[in-house]
């Protein structure tokens, strides 16, 4: 077997091997058991005292949402103002300008919602101050927000609760101090010892071996690159993200960054098993998500390894696979694996240019974001999956003629309405956005934002809205998206695509928790079996495939047939 394929398999195996004990650790942190990091407990208590927060006060689901939303609004205002004025603030050695109002709006939201869609290039679009005080800061707190929302839902799934679902600030702060910060430090240290810059020097000017004078952008990047992956944020320090040789210097850092981005999403599944003492349910969820991941990964691996048929026809050696937009140090296979991982878990960092992926791979990347529930983002992945569980319980309940119940609570009309709304919101945002932009473009092609003609141009627009609604952040980067149309429309898609899928599951879980607990009996539909897992998988695929199939046919699938069957 070749070393490229072994690299991919090993990366996944290592991820799962770390995720299981790490999931156990996360469960311990939030159930208040002893852990190795308890020595920072006095520091956390000091923070709560300074902020006058009573971290032991229990909150119900509405109070959780109010706390979550109000602190998010604060961050938005803060980030918007900082980006708008960065050009005249300190720590700006490269003399980069302030952002325009529409770009500040888009960027502030994009990082607030853990999406990290970037309509600028890091080398010229931000200053060191905003890279650290806005971008890095939001990467920590948005990931912690996702985890906090998920833990509330975990709490609501317990047997003996009604109203007290933990304290938002307590869960939120511990997500940072106990999980995100310590692991980020480890990752950042690995990066700096492999050549990623971390100092505050500005651009360097060098004379090359051949005698040309070029500049090299640098900066305190290592810490940001660590949290961008660990928190499934994905926004790069440099324009091309982790394809940049300083952001991702070699195959080792590539493995570390790939492991880092999937670590928490997978660990949280196992954390659910340990936390609720429902290990079997966790295994079933992990199994379904892994099958979902593989069903997207395998076609991508094959397509990228076989390369571009139009280039094969030119009669050169394409045994390395499709290399347009890829880096030699990673190769086609590790790039294919990354492109699927980053789209299913809403990271959106890239180590190859997705715009130049083969049409099959583009389809799979889009499907990864359209389903958005295979592992999924930090915390929010399981929240999305939770919605599909509720729908699957309801449908299978109807099929076998039993009252739909999930973990001992009846699912009724109100919960189903919320779940359906959240599930349908995603295709609604994507398809309406793509239709609108296609209309504007065909009406006036002089807007000129497409980098490729024909079907692929359509895919560029479809990808941008899919990435926004899924809070992913990757792009078909050829799209000229730094203008008011894209900045504002995707900005609103980002907000809706983030907060409704958080509010929905938290509300459902909160409402269910207040219902009477019905102990399991022979008449209960079991939700921790393989059969139910397959049912959930079918619900996810049907909702994604049915809603998006026509759009996929117009974009990547049509491109596939022109390229492979001309």
């Amino acid at each position: 077997m070749n070393t490229e394929l072994i690299g991919v398999i090993a990366t996944f195996a290592i991820t799962v091997a770390i995720a299981i004990p790490f999931g156990k650790y996360i469960a311990k942190v939030f159930s208040g058991e002893k852990t190795a990091l308890d020595f920072i407990s006095p520091f956390e208590k000091w923070i709560f005292r300074m902020c006058r927060i009573d971290s032991s006060k229990q909150m119900n689901w509405k109070q959780h949402l109010i706390a979550l939303l109000s602190i998010n609004i604060l961050w938005f205002v803060y980030a918007f103002i900082m980006l708008l004025t960065q050009g005249s603030l300190f720590l700006n050695p490269d003399g980069n300008p302030s952002m325009s109002p529409d770009l500040s709006f888009n960027t502030a939201i994009s990082f607030l919602v853990n999406c990290n869609l970037q309509h600028y290039s890091g080398e010229t679009g931000l200053t060191y101050l905003t890279q650290l005080a806005v971008i890095t800061f939001l990467q920590f707190v948005s990931a912690a927000t996702g985890i906090a929302a998920l833990i509330v839902v975990f709490n609501a799934m317990k047997e003996n609760v009604s109203d007290g679902l933990g304290n938002f600030f307590d869960i939120f702060l511990k997500s940072i101090t106990r999980i995100l910060l310590p692991v980020s430090i480890i990752i950042a240290v690995v990066l700096i010892f492999n050549g990623t810059p971390a100092s505050f020097d500005g651009k360097d000017t060098i004379t090359t071996l051949q005698g040309d004078t070029v500049q090299v952008s640098r900066g305190p990047a290592a810490g940001m690159i660590a949290i961008k992956h660990l928190g499934t944020n994905g926004g790069g320090w440099f324009g091309v993200n982790s394809a940049h040789p300083l952001e991702n210097p070699n195959y080792l850092t590539n493995m570390v960054e790939m492991i880092a981005q999937v670590l928490i999403p997978i660990a949280l599944i196992f954390a659910l098993g340990f936390y609720l003492k429902r290990k079997k349910m966790a295994y079933v969820i992990f199994g379904v998500m892994t099958i979902g991941m593989l069903s997207l990964l395998i076609p991508t691996l094959i397509a990228e390894s076989n390369g571009n048929p139009a280039i094969t026809e030119m009669g050169i050696d394409q045994s390395a696979g499709s290399m347009e937009g890829k880096e030699v140090r990673f190769g086609a296979k590790a790039s294919a694996y990354w492109s699927i991982v980053t789209t299913i878990i809403s990271t959106g960092s890239v180590n190859s240019m997705h715009d130049s992926s083969m049409p099959v791979s583009g389809t799979m990347q889009l499907l990864g974001m359209m389903t958005n529930a295979f592992y999924g983002g930090c915390g929010v992945g399981i929240l999305n999956y939770y919605i599909f569980i509720i729908i699957a319980v309801f449908i299978s309940g109807l099929m076998v003629g039993r009252t739909p119940e999930f973990l001992g609570r009846k699912i009724e009309a109100r919960e189903m309405k919320i779940a359906t709304l959240v599930a349908l919101l995603h295709p609604f945002l994507i398809l309406v956005g793509t239709a609108l932009s296609s209309f504007v473009f065909t009406n006036d092609p002089s807007v000129g934002w497409l980098n490729n003609p024909g079907y692929h141009g359509f895919s560029e627009m479809l990808y941008e809205y899919t990435s926004s609604a899924a809070n992913n952040g990757s792009g078909f980067e050829g799209l000229g998206d730094n203008n008011w149309f894209w900045n504002i429309t995707t900005g609103f898609v980002l907000i809706l695509g983030r907060f409704l899928p958080i509010i929905g599951p938290v509300a459902i879980a909160g409402i269910l928790a207040k219902k009477k607990f019905i102990p399991e009996s022979a008449g209960t539909l079991r939700t921790d079996t393989g059969t139910f897992g397959i049912m959930t998988y079918a619900v996810i695929m049907i909702i994604a495939a049915l809603a998006f199939f026509p759009a996929l046919v117009l974009g990547p699938l049509a491109e596939y047939f022109t390229l492979y069957h001309p």
Binding site: T3, I6, G7, I47, C51, I53, A67, S70, L74, Y78, T124, A133, F137, V141, F169, S184, I185, I192, G195, P197, S199, F200, D201, T208, L209, S217, R218, P220, A222, G223, G239, V240, A243, H244, P245, Y251, M255, M314, I316, A320, S322, E324, G325, K326, V328, G331, A334, M353, D355, S356, S357, P359, N452, P453, G454, H456, F476, E477, E559, L563
Partner: protein, 186 residues
């Protein structure tokens, strides 16, 4: 709402201190002990800094090994890929033109042996590496221009092959800048 705003403001301030001041300073501090002191690993030749180990450079002269096509001409003030789709006719014409140009500069070689990484643009535009095949196919040209035997140049390449991680994971590759520096010293 009001009961949440004030604590949230204070918490935000403290977290900015932790995540955006203490954390990056800690990492910058540790980086003092890393190769390149956290400024990126530099390479010197004849006591001159000639570039960064990880940042590719443009080589247009036929006496040097050439790297991959770049969408930013290897100016690391920025970074970009071509972002061209595989079926784009303009893009395919560009690739064909690169193949033709390569054949003009390397008349001795067989077209079927040109590895695709030499005619496709990298993701970053700064790719420091090429495949081993991409180095070997340039040997005949360089040996001729530099008046060396093909064996000498081939041995140099073999010496500089970067093996997969632990010999197990990922592709083999050549760092173009290091290879060209070694070539000058030959």
């Amino acid at each position: 709402m009001k009961t949440y705003i004030l604590p949230s403001l204070k918490l935000t301030g403290i977290l900015i201190l932790i995540c955006s001041v203490m954390y990056p300073l800690l990492i910058a501090g540790i980086s003092m002990f890393a190769p390149g002191n956290g400024e990126g690993k530099k390479i010197t030749a004849h006591n001159n800094v000639v570039g960064y180990e990880n940042i590719g450079q443009q080589f247009t002269d036929d006496s040097y090994f050439q790297g991959r096509p770049s969408a930013v001409d290897y100016n690391a003030a920025g970074s970009a890929g071509s972002n061209k789709g595989g079926a784009n006719p303009d893009y395919l014409a560009t690739v064909q033109a690169r193949i033709d140009t390569f054949l003009v500069h390397n008349p001795e070689i067989d077209k079927a042996a040109i590895p695709c990484d030499l005619v496709t643009a990298s993701g970053s535009g700064l790719d420091p590496n090429i495949s081993v095949k991409a180095a070997k196919i340039q040997v005949a040209r360089i040996a001729k221009i530099r008046n060396k035997s093909a064996k000498e140049i081939n041995d140099l390449i073999d010496k500089l092959i970067e093996k997969p991680l632990l010999g197990l994971f990922g592709p083999e590759k050549i760092n173009v800048l290091k290879l060209n520096i070694a070539l000058n010293e030959l």
